[in-house]
């Protein structure tokens, strides 16, 4: 993208004045500076950043320079006699007008870039991003493909208090997810950003995108990546306990690889849907009978509890705590809880639909029937909740 004439003008002005190489690459190893990023927009933003930084440095040199000279020369210990002037309209006008001119010169290129950033028209693909406590969901609106993106297991294990695992031994510590957002190189990707519970912000430094995810709002942003690769960012808006642990990872693939990836995703999604439909069609028995049919089902309690324990830690443990004690009063204890040890349908209902007005999110859209069955079974049999209940996936399917 060609540089605006304003940026060129500034470049020559500052370059002459300071010898400042505005195009000099950032000191990437020491990570002193903003990354240039990989989109045309992120490059423009980088240039704006360097421009305003250069202007500030230039003013700083002049202003602090005068001040230091004064501190050296005009000190009583050198026998300086104080002058008594205290006013100069001319000086006041000069140092009001010059900053205004600089600001106008700065505002124009900034506004130009801003206009481009907000132009989300003519997108090639659209992805809806939903922030959850504490994960992201990506839905490809043109392809009926969607998935959750959570902190990878290695980082998650290492980040526990006193885990004993050194962060330096985990690759991309806290910046790796299980399912990254995959996009094609060269396509204009439009993002629709919202949230399901509290505020989040989707930040990808390499694309110069940071947009708040707000319940009830759909915010827009767009990017076009020119280079295949993996790009990493993080949630930027405080969203509760695990705000620091919901990274953003984007993988940009060549169009052919992307098409292949998308075909795989669609096939998997199709299979899932078919399977779910088949289960429901084949076995329309009332849900209440399900629990009594434990023996006939293919999933034993040990299976489900083992699976449920690890899923519980991943999805529920941050609030309700691994020991089921919760964090009163916001996150209630599940150990001995009347919901978890009481009526099964109410328990499953809360897990599926959440509790509006509280931090309890609906997990129905987030996890599949088997995963939810495992979690509920685990909760009903862990920490002294010895209900002996075993919940099967089709019970969940019927309760949805």
């Amino acid at each position: 993208m060609s540089e605006s004439k304003w940026m060129q003008l500034w470049r020559s002005l500052l370059g002459a004045g300071l010898g400042l190489g505005l195009a000099a690459p950032a000191a990437a190893d020491w990570a002193l500076n903003m990354p240039r990023g990989v989109t045309a927009i992120s490059n423009e933003v980088y240039d704006l950043h360097m421009l305003i930084l250069g202007i500030c440095c230039l003013i700083a040199v002049v202003v602090f320079g005068v001040m230091i000279v004064s501190i050296i020369l005009h000190r009583k210990s050198r026998g300086a006699e104080p002058a008594q002037f205290h006013h100069s309209t001319k000086a006041e006008i000069i140092w009001t007008v010059i900053p205004i001119l600089i600001l106008v010169g700065m505002a124009i290129p900034a506004a130009e870039t801003l206009v481009k950033m907000e132009d989300t028209r003519n997108a090639d693909i659209t992805v809806k991003i939903t922030g959850y406590q504490w994960k992201w969901r990506y839905d490809y609106l043109d392809d009926d493909v969607g998935f959750f993106s959570t902190l990878d297991r290695a980082s998650n294990a290492a980040r526990q208090l006193d885990s004993g695992i050194r962060p330096t031994e985990v690759e991309n510590y806290l910046l790796e997810v299980d399912n990254p957002l995959v996009v094609p190189v060269g396509a204009k990707v439009r993002l629709l950003i919202t949230a399901a519970d509290v505020l989040h912000a989707w930040w990808m430094p390499d694309f110069a995108i940071k947009k708040d995810a707000i319940p009830g709002y759909v915010n827009e942003a767009w990017f076009r990546v020119d280079k295949a690769g993996t790009y990493r960012g993080q949630c930027a808006e405080l969203c509760g306990r695990d705000h620091g642990f919901m990274p953003v990872v984007v993988v940009a693939k060549d169009p052919a690889d992307y098409a292949q990836w998308m075909a795989d995703q669609r096939r998997e999604a199709g299979l899932e849907t078919e399977r779910a439909e088949a289960v429901v069609a084949a076995d329309p028995a009332p849900a209440a009978m399900r629990v009594e049919m434990v023996e006939q089902n293919e999933r034993g309690i040990d299976d489900l509890v083992a699976m449920g324990e690890s899923l519980y830690r991943e999805h529920c443990g941050a609030c309700h705590q691994p020991d089921g004690q919760g964090m009163a009063p916001v996150f209630p204890a599940l150990a001995g809880s009347p919901v978890v040890t009481g009526d099964l349908s109410e328990h499953v209902g809360v897990v599926l639909k959440g509790r509006p007005g509280t931090a309890m999110a609906p997990f129905g859209p987030q996890l599949d029937d088997l995963q939810l069955a495992a979690i509920v079974t685990y909760q009903r049999n862990a920490w002294g909740n010895d209900t002996g209940d075993v919940v099967q996936p089709d019970y969940i399917a019927a309760a949805r």
Partner: protein, 530 residues
């Protein structure tokens, strides 16, 4: 001297120069502006150390990657409480304390105009902060949604929620009462001849600050009340599921919040404008333009609030408006900096501790101003926003900005308050330790933010490890250096070289015409100002 005269003199003495009551009742019932000023300052020092301790918990956890010390939920409580305590408990009461001590003496008034309300507005504060700090021991812990209290997250606060709201209400009530008192005092109790444009700049900046307080504290109170009714009474002002708008709270909060940052910095500008002329032995350059610049900054502070919300998804026109209006603030702020430097220019400077802090203020506050200008550029702000760059920015304007100015003011007026000179050697040592460590603490945070580290996170990728470690080392040195400040002030109160009434070589202002220590009652007869 005849007996009758002697008797009359004694009587006058009893009547006019009665000292304070003894013991704790002196402090509980006092209506004396000097006593109340002292209480404000001591209270703010205690809060400064409390909030500072919380900052050290934060920096200790961030010393290296991985979680070593605290749970992330507790970490969030620390960041939230640190900010609330520093803003409402340390910086604001400190400037009110200075106003209480100095404004009556500077305008030649015997006391504040509303002395009983003055007592009340102070004593609300310890109650408010006892409530706020007690939430640390409640089920669910202290508030953890940030000092900005954004919904919906803040609605996940535990038992602490109503206490937080009520504490904010109390702080607001205290601030509004203090502000009314200051305005009434300045408007009605100036000595004959003290016209508005003869007032010391500290009085001017506080007058404007007081109007800001009255304008915006009720807005905050309204915002948190709406949070309260959303939480307990089924309203949905900010709940999207009931047709409410989570972003509305941000607009309300920052309509308060941006003037709030000037509430913290304008009195600091006033202090610096007193100190630099004294130690440059030269009148303040551009007095009137200083007053107009302060008023312009105050006006602009009401039309820039949404620059705290550039990433919220405003329409383009809104982003452009708030970008341009924010950039404009650089103009009056620049005028102030240029005036301070012109005041120093061709003066005869000496570098006692207050002057050292004032010079550091001008340089380091200006650095905070530069990063503020960078943050105003909306496209670049999308990168800076909610990163450590912002943390570096506002700490530069608040710590070596507001806090340094307050310390400069304390060193400047301490001999007037106590009648003793503080230990200049220790004062300078305190200055150098603070100035070096505050930069070690906050400068690397610019790099962290630019490299992509978000704020308010308890753990980070290993690429951020080096600068975080440096920053934490700076934090501990800075934190412990402040114990020196406590010691210096304590020693100065207890004794030291007697101070003359002028204290410094050529200070300007009525406060230097009364003896040191300033008598319990000053200017019972108004002085004549020419």
């Amino acid at each position: 001297m005849s007996t009758a005269e002697h008797h009359a003199g004694d009587h006058a003495h009893d009547h006019h120069d009665h000292g304070p009551a003894k013991g704790i009742m002196r402090w509980l019932t006092t209506t004396n502006h000097k006593d109340i000023g002292t209480m404000y300052l001591v209270f703010s020092l205690i809060m400064f150390l409390t909030g500072g301790t919380m900052a050290l918990v934060i920096r200790a956890e961030l010393f290296q990657p991985g979680l070593q010390l605290v749970d992330p939920a507790f970490f969030n409580q620390m960041t939230t409480m640190h900010a609330l305590i520093m803003v409402f408990g340390a910086v604001m009461p400190a400037t009110v304390g200075l106003a209480n001590w100095m404004i009556p003496m500077m305008v030649g008034a015997p006391d504040m105009a509303l002395p009983r309300m003055n007592n009340w507005s102070f004593w609300i504060l310890p109650v408010a902060f006892t409530l706020l700090i007690s939430t640390l021991f409640m089920p669910g812990g202290a508030p953890a949604a940030g000092w900005t209290m954004y919904p919906p997250l803040v609605q996940q606060t535990g038992s602490a929620f109503p206490f937080m709201v009520f504490a904010v209400h109390l702080m607001g009530a205290s601030s509004i009462m203090g502000a009314i008192n200051i305005i009434v005092t300045i408007m009605n109790m100036r000595a004959p001849g003290m016209t508005l444009l003869k007032m010391p700049l500290f009085v001017w900046t506080w007058l404007i600050t007081a109007y800001l307080l009255i304008a915006v504290m009720p807005v905050l109170a309204g915002g948190v009340t709406m949070l309260l009714t959303d939480q307990f009474f089924g309203t949905t002002f900010f709940r999207a599921e009931g047709g409410g708008d989570p972003v509305l709270f941000q607009h309300i909060f920052w309509f308060f919040g941006h003037p709030e940052v000037y509430i913290m910095i304008l009195p600091a500008f006033g202090i610096i404008s007193e100190i630099i002329p004294t130690f440059s032995r030269k009148p303040l350059f551009g007095y009137e333009s200083m007053v107009y610049a302060t008023a312009s900054i105050a006006f602009l502070s009401f039309i820039v609030w949404a620059h705290h919300m550039f990433t919220v998804g405003m329409p383009l026109a809104g982003e452009l408006f708030f970008m341009f209006s924010t950039m404009l603030i650089a103009v009056p702020t620049g005028v102030k900096v240029f005036n301070w430097i012109s005041t120093m220019w061709r003066g005869a400077m000496t570098f006692e501790t207050p002057m050292l802090f004032a010079i550091a203020f001008v340089i380091l506050f200006t650095i905070g101003g530069f990063s503020g200008l960078m943050l105003a550029i909306a496209p670049a702000d999308f990168q800076y926003h909610d990163s450590y760059f912002v943390v570096a920015h506002f700490h530069y304007v608040l710590v070596p900005g507001a806090v340094f100015a307050i310390m400069a003011g304390v060193y400047y007026w301490l001999p007037k308050w106590t009648g003793h000179m503080y230990d200049e050697k220790l004062g300078k040592l305190h200055f150098w330790l603070s100035t070096i460590s505050v930069n070690v603490l906050f400068f690397p945070q610019h790099f962290l933010g630019l490299a992509g580290m978000p704020r308010r996170i308890p753990d980070y990728n290993t690429q951020f490890a080096d600068f975080n470690m440096i920053s934490s080392i700076g934090a501990f040195v800075f934190g412990f250096s402040q114990l020196m400040f406590v010691y210096i002030v304590w020693r100065c109160v207890r004794g030291g070289e007697p101070a003359s009434s002028k204290v410094w070589e050529s200070p300007r202002g009525l406060e230097w015409t009364v003896p040191s220590p300033a008598p319990y009652h000053t200017f019972e007869t108004a002085p004549e100002v020419k």
